[in-house]
Amino acid sequence: MAILGSARTVRSLLASAAVLAVLATAACGGGGSRASDQQAGGPPEREQPVQLEVTWWGGPARAELTQKVLDLYTQKHPNVTFTTQWQGYSGYYDKVNTTAAGRNAADIIQIDNRVLREYSSKGLIADLTPWVGSTLKSDQIDERLMSTGEVDGKLYAVPLASNAQSYVVDKTVVEPLGLLPPETGWASWEEFGEWASKVTAATGRTVWGVRDESADLGGFEFWLRQQGKNLYDGQQLGFTEDDAARWLEMWAGFRQSGAASPAEVAQPANAGDISKNTVITKQTAVTFSWDNQYTEVSKATDHELVLVPLPGGPEGAYIRSSQFFTAYSRGENVATAVDVINFFVNDPEAGAILGTERGLPPNDQVREAVLPNFDDKLKYVVAYDERVTEKAGDTPPTPAQGDVQVRQLLITAAENSGFGRMTPRAAAAEFFSQATAELERAAS
């Protein structure tokens, strides 16, 4: 080829190769951490420029509010600037795991309690205990709530907000049928099943009474707690194979009586994507929802919605942190990250911006201060939450390592049972044995 002859071309090609090589080396060397220079419990940086990356899951509304709070922080501390990353819940942890594997995770990471034990034991997130009392104030936060961020007595995660389980009910559908749910909830699951099958019958199967919620680990936990059990007993399952079978059988019964939707209606929402919520899509009159999601779900439908506690006794509920902020242990500047987290939780201005989008403000003073300015929907959520948590049972310890896998295994079992590929009992047996194996593995 003619190009071969041109010395200039050869030189420029060599130069490009050199640049490539340098880039490759630089890429490998990047992502290093300055965390080792930092002192645990030290003060936040106020002079040198600090750039922090914040990551969370959620929708556009959450992104907007979070960004506003970050801007407010920058306004107060101009040396600190932020970059952000957000996405839906499904696939969120894969992304965090991958960036952490590349030693390049975000400085402030939103998590829920599902991965708390895993992330703390693997050293992904920093122990925040040294900052408590100085940079990080906890005196205005309910102790039960604060303790949900602890693992083995050390604080790794700061509750951003609290929420409670609820069934969200499509009032526009059920009211004309004369089937408004009791405001304090159905006395038992049987009563609920009868109510739901009436809804299905009255709508001529155009709207199912309830979405098949058998795949929901949170609902299963709620039900287990009503029988005096927990999801986990330390690093083991806190229930028996028979419990799991009875849970799946109860839902199979609901599907059979027409109370619950078929599995194919329920399945799209199993991955936890709020846009697939079956009340929003008007396929069911009831579905599970965290109470803080009420405002977002309401926005997505023209129907009027109400919140009702899950069926059965109130002891199934517990004070729960909807999500936490944690600091990446190898972050740019952990002390400053902690200060930002503290700002989210304890600053009244930040609290006023955040509202109840993530859940109720954890700081009691902030909650009192911002409550009068809330709109009716937010006030409704607060009232619901306070009513439920008042009667709630004890908060269970942080879930075992491997909870993420257990959650997925329950989804698979519920789908196998729901689509008739297995009997509820066989699906429960498979779920139980695989979940036991995963927990054993995760602990070793």
């Binding site: 071969l4 050869v10 090609l13 060599l14 490009s16 190769a17 490539l20 090589a21 490759a24 499904s90 696939g91 942890y93 894969d94 795991n97 991958t98 952490a100 594997a101 895993e118 693997k122 050293g123 992904l124 599995a263 194919e264 209606v265 399945q267 799209p268 199993n270 991955a271 994507d273 899509t281 993420v404 896998q405 997925q408 989804i411 698979t412 789908e415 196998n416 689509f419 590929r421 498979e430 695989q434 194996a437 593995r441």
Partner: protein, 318 residues
């Protein structure tokens, strides 16, 4: 293929020895310099990470802490103590065995329709190729998810004919089937190769066959197919490998879970979930090596089978 590879090979520098003119050595060095970006990529991005993953497959590695040597434990667990592994093997085999022949049949069918020079044929060839350009993309998987959902367009279309559709992608009985259709729809690449192959068949062959009284089907069976068999063979090999490696569509359509009920849990999806979802990179590495070896064996079988049905034109002259 071998032929091409040899032609592209660099001038063999180190083997030239002392007796070679200095000019040639210079050329060899220039050759390596020109190859260096590719070589860098080969060693830096392919070979070294591969060897590292071989090491990792004998360790317990959670991505965040140092890998810990566990011997063959990962392999033992995979074969004896992991039902989801075997499920993913079955799903992948089913996917490959159905999607590869279907895709090739569609590709060949469309190529047969498009290989004669009619007016506007170029436009059609391009149009039929478009799905393959979109092929591996996340966007098309999301489109598929919307089309084949319970309230999706496909069911809307069926409703026009009074048929009540299923929630295709949400029903474990059909989810894999929609993936197979998606794969078959992306027939563009093998179609183009078939087109090139069809163009190579001399028109006299068909004339001679027609004179002997062969009908269309006989012509296809006794002339087109044998003469096309080397090209078909090439496509079978490539598509088999690609079929086993399918990932994006299954991952996106199932929302990153391989669901419903693990029915789209392809091997690659399971591998990904183990590695990046469950922090079991050692196990995922072991899975990758088992996959590599299995795929090597399957490809070898396909190659061996070639001697039974692939017909090279020059063989007849011997």
């Amino acid at each position: 293929m071998v032929d091409t590879a040899e032609r592209q090979a660099p001038p063999t520098g180190p083997r030239t020895g002392a007796g070679v003119r200095p000019g040639r050595r210079k050329e060899a060095i220039a050759g390596y310099v020109f190859l260096s970006p590719w070589l860098l990529g080969l060693f830096g991005i392919t070979l070294l990470p591969m060897l590292y993953s071989l090491y990792l497959s004998f360790t317990d590695y959670d991505l965040l802490q140092d890998p810990e040597w566990v011997g063959a434990e990962n392999y033992v667990r995979m074969f004896t103590d992991d039902p989801r592994f075997w499920n993913s093997v079955g799903t992948t085999l089913l996917f490959a065995v159905t999607s590869v022949p279907l895709k090739l049949a569609v590709a060949l069918g469309v190529a047969l329709l498009l290989y004669r020079n009619r007016r506007g044929v170029g436009l059609y060839r391009s149009l039929y190729y478009v799905p393959s350009l979109l092929g591996g993309s996340v966007a098309i998987a999301i489109v598929w998810q919307t089309l084949f959902g319970g309230q999706g367009a496909i069911n809307g279309l069926l409703a026009v004919f009074g048929i009540t559709g299923r929630a295709w992608i949400n029903d474990p009985a059909f989810a894999l089937g929609t993936l197979v259709i998606l794969a078959a729809w992306q027939f563009g690449a093998p179609m183009v190769i078939f087109l090139a192959g069809l163009k190579q068949i001399p028109a006299e062959m068909f004339e001679a066959a027609a004179l002997d009284g062969a009908g269309r089907f006989t012509q296809f069976w006794h002339v087109t197919l044998p003469l096309l068999s080397p090209v078909l063979f090439f496509n079978v090999v490539l598509e088999t490998i690609a079929g086993f490696q399918g990932f994006t569509a299954a991952f996106v359509i199932s929302g990153g879970t391989g669901g419903p009920a693990d029915s789209t849990l392809l091997y690659t999806v399971y591998l990904y979930l183990r590695g990046f979802g469950d922090f079991q990179m050692g196990y995922a590495s072991a899975m990758a090596w088992v996959f590599l070896i299995a795929l090597g064996i399957i490809t070898a079988f396909v190659f061996r089978s070639g001697s039974l049905w692939v017909h090279y034109a020059d063989e007849g002259d011997r």
